[in-house]
């Protein structure tokens, strides 16, 4: 009785302090997958949760399993796999297994190269379908390119001086844009890994910098025409013109640091 009670207390506390870091949709669009800071992945059925006669139980996950021992910071969904990255290695599960409610790790990638006492976390993942490459932005200031066919690291994009917050791609995956804690947005050519093509530092610009919040870049998005880049975080949310790499519009959101931004049709939404 006491053991159960202790577990109950721990569970209660955990629930109280749970943060959901990321979510994504299943390829069929019927399920929503979310991951939290304790490493648990929960699958929700959108159909039953959004139906008109929803009951409380329908809002609970239909399946939840432990994704990793530490927090999970990012989830990515390809047509075949659900990939998660966070504290620890990058893991993937087959969607077919998840549909059958028996998830097992299909494959995993880890940064065996770094032998530091502090294994870097993966903060964001980006998938390029065309050449089956997975980009991961890590806590050791690098962006790694993984070849999913062989499961090895094809290359590293290094140049940031602090850990990577977010990744996005442009030009059909040829270019990769990364935003980091050090305040810079770097645009890379995915074939050349020597150094970034361009570096943008929003915090150095008068219009958008917010010294109180810091200089870190939390989120990046590129619109469909590849002309505009939106980034936010410590500096306020600003849209940049890609060609000239100059800030154009600043979205005034005082006191709010953005963690996510995306283009939707012709609107920008972020929080």
């Amino acid at each position: 009785m006491a053991v159960n009670f202790e577990e109950d207390i721990i569970k209660q506390r955990q629930e109280f302090h749970m943060t959901v870091f990321c979510q994504c949709f299943s390829p069929c669009g019927k399920y929503l997958v979310a991951a939290n800071n304790f490493g648990k992945i929960a699958v929700f059925s959108l159909v039953s949760a959004l139906s008109p006669d929803v009951i409380e139980d329908n809002r609970r996950p239909i399946l939840s399993f432990e994704g990793s021992k530490g927090a999970i910071y990012t989830l990515l969904s390809t047509s075949k796999f659900l990939i998660c990255g966070g504290e620890g290695e990058i893991r993937a599960w087959n969607w077919s297994d998840i549909y059958k409610k028996t998830p097992k790790v299909a494959w995993s990638l880890s940064n065996s190269s770094s032998v530091r006492f502090d294994e870097p976390e993966t903060n964001c993942l980006l998938y390029n379908e065309k050449d089956n490459t997975l980009f991961s932005g890590c806590g050791d200031n690098n962006v790694y390119m993984w070849d999913l066919e062989s499961g090895t690291c094809k290359g590293t994009l290094s140049g940031h001086t602090d850990y990577i917050h977010c990744l996005t791609s442009r030009n059909n995956g040829q270019e990769v844009i990364s935003g980091s804690e050090d305040g810079s947005v770097r645009i890379w050519d995915s074939r050349r890994t020597s150094e970034a093509m361009h570096v943008v530092e929003p915090y150095k610009h008068e219009e958008c910098c917010r010294p109180n919040q810091g200089k870190w870049i939390g989120c990046l998005a590129v619109d469909s025409s590849d002309d505009w880049l939106v980034c936010g975080g410590g500096p306020s949310l600003t849209s940049w013109h890609m060609r000239s790499l100059s800030p154009t519009i600043t979205f005034p959101t005082p006191d709010v640091c953005h963690n996510h931004v995306m283009f939707y049709e012709d609107m920008v939404s972020g929080h």
Partner: protein
């Protein structure tokens, strides 16, 4: 010739004239009737009866008519003759006269014949009548006999011989069981009467056999009864001898074996109500078997208990008649308040005997629990008294309530606050008498904790509206006693330790026991400046505790405190919830930092992380130190995180303002993850801070 005899003929009725009738009958309607009298020479007498038989009545009647006519004509002739005027000769008249007279003879004869005929007819009828009568009589006799016989038959048929009443065995069984001499199957199968007789025979034989057996059994029984009687007498004679032996062992008991004491206690125990009895038995058993530091005693008034038992039945009857007495008293205009008060008092009345359990803890404190049984409400309550060891008593301002009898044992097991009676029926009983809920009477009667009920063997199920009061079971008690004593001891030690900690916290030092030193770095710059206890109303108005309230993780019964840390211009306020069953449930912190603005869990992710560091990962703290020091270790950890927060934030915001807090601590990485977590985790081996 014949005519001379005619007038005398009528005197000779009895004579018969067989031959003459014929001749008369064949004579025609002549005026003259010649009566031929032919005497039968052989016949001695003249029988007119015979004559009558031969004559035809019709003819007689005609003869009568003619005779009368002749007389009439003769008369007429005579008259005519007389009238004619001529004097008839007297001989003609006398001839006519004689002729007329002769007709008279005929008439007389006819009359006679008629009479005889009648008489004969009468005789014949009379005879027949006689015959008929005799037949009738015979008929009557026969009928009477028939009836008589019928009655007899009926009687015979109705005769209920006793043998119908006897339940005989079934025919098949009979054929199986009975020996051949009796059952005689060849005969009996054909003749039902014989069959019945045979069955009756068999029945008789069986009954005789069984009667014999019965007599034998009866004899045996008598013998046994006699034996029992003798043995009983022997045992009775033993009793005084045993008491003598006991007396003589008294001096031995003085030495080391207090049998007498335990015996008297056991005797008293017999008068305990059942739940208390179970408690007593289990506790003594446990004391003997496992735990020498637990002792059990019975206190109270034995005679009152005996009186109580004998009036036990009367109580229920009384409670019904109480309503009547209440009404009667109303009529008598007595104050009904008195009667009601009486009833209320009786509802809360305790049984005169109580069981005391004394638990000695390892540090010398003694916890004394007195269990009483409320008779009408059928629950067991406990009143608590703690005598702490002399060196462990510390006076505190904030911890005043810790060791109070009211809250010392609150929440010994989860959700067991002991404020309400576990027996749902009590609510109805109390409301019927207009009494408040049980909570109001706790000061009088003690706390009805659930574990107390379980120790006494009463298992009340929750939320069961119309349950009957469960019968106290010793299995329930036995399974709980070990856990409960452990919990009691732990609770006492925990409370005493908490009291000590609170005392030192009030002095603004966080006592960190040596085994927990490794959890924290040696030097922390923040200063602990304030520690107060706050009431529940104040807690709920604090803005940064809103989430805790919404998650229902705090309630009125918990102990609430407020702590303040300061470092230069920054100030940290923490509201702390210490639940009643601390350290079973660890304390819960809500943090607010004022430094360059108000930061709390809602608007600053780092503070939320700080809270989770302290609230969620308490198990590490407990692993490195005893659970009793959980609160202080959590405080120390909070202080550490406060330092880290200030230093990290300072460095990160180095663009905006000069660094207020220099980075004293070793933090290889200031932020990590999308939420830019601060390195709150302290790594004791290498002395640096990292992320979780």
């Amino acid at each position: 010739m014949s005519s001379s005899t005619n007038p005398i003929v009528k005197k000779r009725r009895r004579t018969t004239r067989p031959g003459s009738e014929i001749s008369i009958t064949t004579s025609s309607k002549d005026v003259k009737k010649v009566k031929l009298m032919s005497h039968e020479p052989q016949e001695p007498a003249y029988s007119e009866e015979k004559e009558v038989d031969l004559r035809d009545p019709q003819k007689d009647q005609a003869m009568f008519a003619t005779a009368c006519g002749e007389v009439k004509t003769c008369m007429k002739n005579i008259y005519d003759m007389k009238m004619e005027g001529q004097q008839p000769g007297p001989s003609e008249v006398s001839e006519k006269r004689i002729q007329a007279s002769l007709n008279f003879v005929t008439l007389k004869k006819l009359n006679r014949v008629a009479h005889i005929r009648c008489k004969k007819a009468k005789d014949v009828t009379h005879e027949s009548k006689m015959k008929v009568d005799s037949f009738h009589l015979q008929l009557q006799n026969l009928l009477y006999e028939v009836m008589h016989l019928q009655k007899e038959i009926r009687k015979c048929l109705e005769f209920d011989s006793k043998d119908e009443d006897i339940d005989l065995v079934e025919v098949d069984d009979f054929y199986q069981d009975a020996p051949a001499e009796i059952s005689k199957p060849e005969i009996t199968q054909k003749d039902p009467h014989q069959l019945r007789l045979a069955r009756l025979d068999w029945e008789l034989e069986q009954r005789q056999r069984l009667a014999e057996k019965c007599k034998d059994a009866q004899n045996n029984k008598d013998i046994f009864l006699k034996e029992i009687r003798t043995k009983k007498e022997y045992l009775d004679s033993l009793q005084p001898k045993l008491t003598d032996v006991l007396q003589s062992t008294q001096p031995l008991q003085m030495l080391s074996m207090p049998y007498e004491e335990t015996r008297t206690q056991h005797k008293t125990a017999r008068h305990l109500p059942r739940p208390l009895y179970i408690l007593y038995v289990q506790a003594s058993a446990y004391h003997e078997a496992c735990d020498k530091r637990l002792s059990v005693n019975i206190e109270g008034d034995l005679e009152a208990a005996i009186v109580e038992e004998s009036t036990n039945h009367a109580i229920e009857i009384e409670s019904d008649s109480d309503d009547e007495t209440a009404e009667r008293s109303k009529r008598r205009r007595r104050k009904t308040g008195d009667v009601l008060k009486e009833k209320r008092k009786r509802t809360l009345k305790k049984h005169p005997l109580k069981v005391t359990l004394t638990v000695k803890c390892s540090d010398g404190s003694v916890l004394c629990l007195t269990f009483s049984y409320l008779i009408l409400l059928q629950i067991v309550t406990v009143s608590v008294k703690l005598t702490p060891a002399s060196d462990s008593v510390v006076s505190t301002v904030t911890g005043g309530d810790l060791l109070s009898a009211n809250s010392l044992l609150s929440c010994l097991f989860p959700e067991d606050y002991g404020n309400d009676t576990p027996n749902t029926a009590n609510n109805y009983q109390l409301s019927k008498l207009g009494m408040d809920s049980f909570r109001a009477y706790i000061s009088e009667v003690g706390h009805p904790y659930m574990w107390v009920q379980r120790l006494a063997g009463l298992e009340f199920l929750e939320g069961d509206e119309d349950q009957e009061v469960p019968r106290a079971k010793s299995s329930v008690s036995a399974s709980h006693i070990e856990a409960t004593t452990k919990a009691l001891r732990n609770r006492v030690t925990a409370r005493l330790a908490l009291q000590k900690q609170l005392a030192s916290l009030e002095r603004h030092t966080i006592p960190v026991p040596s085994e927990s030193q490794c959890l924290f770095p040696a030097k922390l710059d923040g200063k602990f400046t304030n520690w107060t206890s706050i009431p529940y109303e104040d807690y709920i108005i604090l803005p940064y505790t809103r989430e805790v309230q919404e998650a229902e993780m705090v309630n009125e019964m918990d102990m609430l405190f407020k702590a303040t840390f300061e470092r230069k211009s920054a100030k940290l306020n923490a509201a702390i919830v210490v639940p009643q069953d601390y350290p079973g449930s660890p304390s819960l912190f809500s943090v607010q930092i004022s430094w360059r603005g108000e930061h709390n869990a809602q608007n600053d992710e780092s503070i939320r992380l700080m809270e989770s560091e302290v609230n969620v990962h308490f198990k590490e703290i407990m692993a490195h130190g005893s659970p009793d020091y959980l609160l202080t270790n959590q405080l120390q950890r909070l202080l550490m995180c406060f330092d880290v927060y200030l230093e990290a934030k300072s460095s990160l915001a180095s663009l905006a303002a000069p660094v207020e807090f220099s980075k004293d601590k070793v933090m290889p990485r200031l932020a990590r993850g999308p939420h830019r977590a601060k390195p709150y985790k302290y790594n004791p081996h290498h002395g640096f801070f990292s992320h979780r």
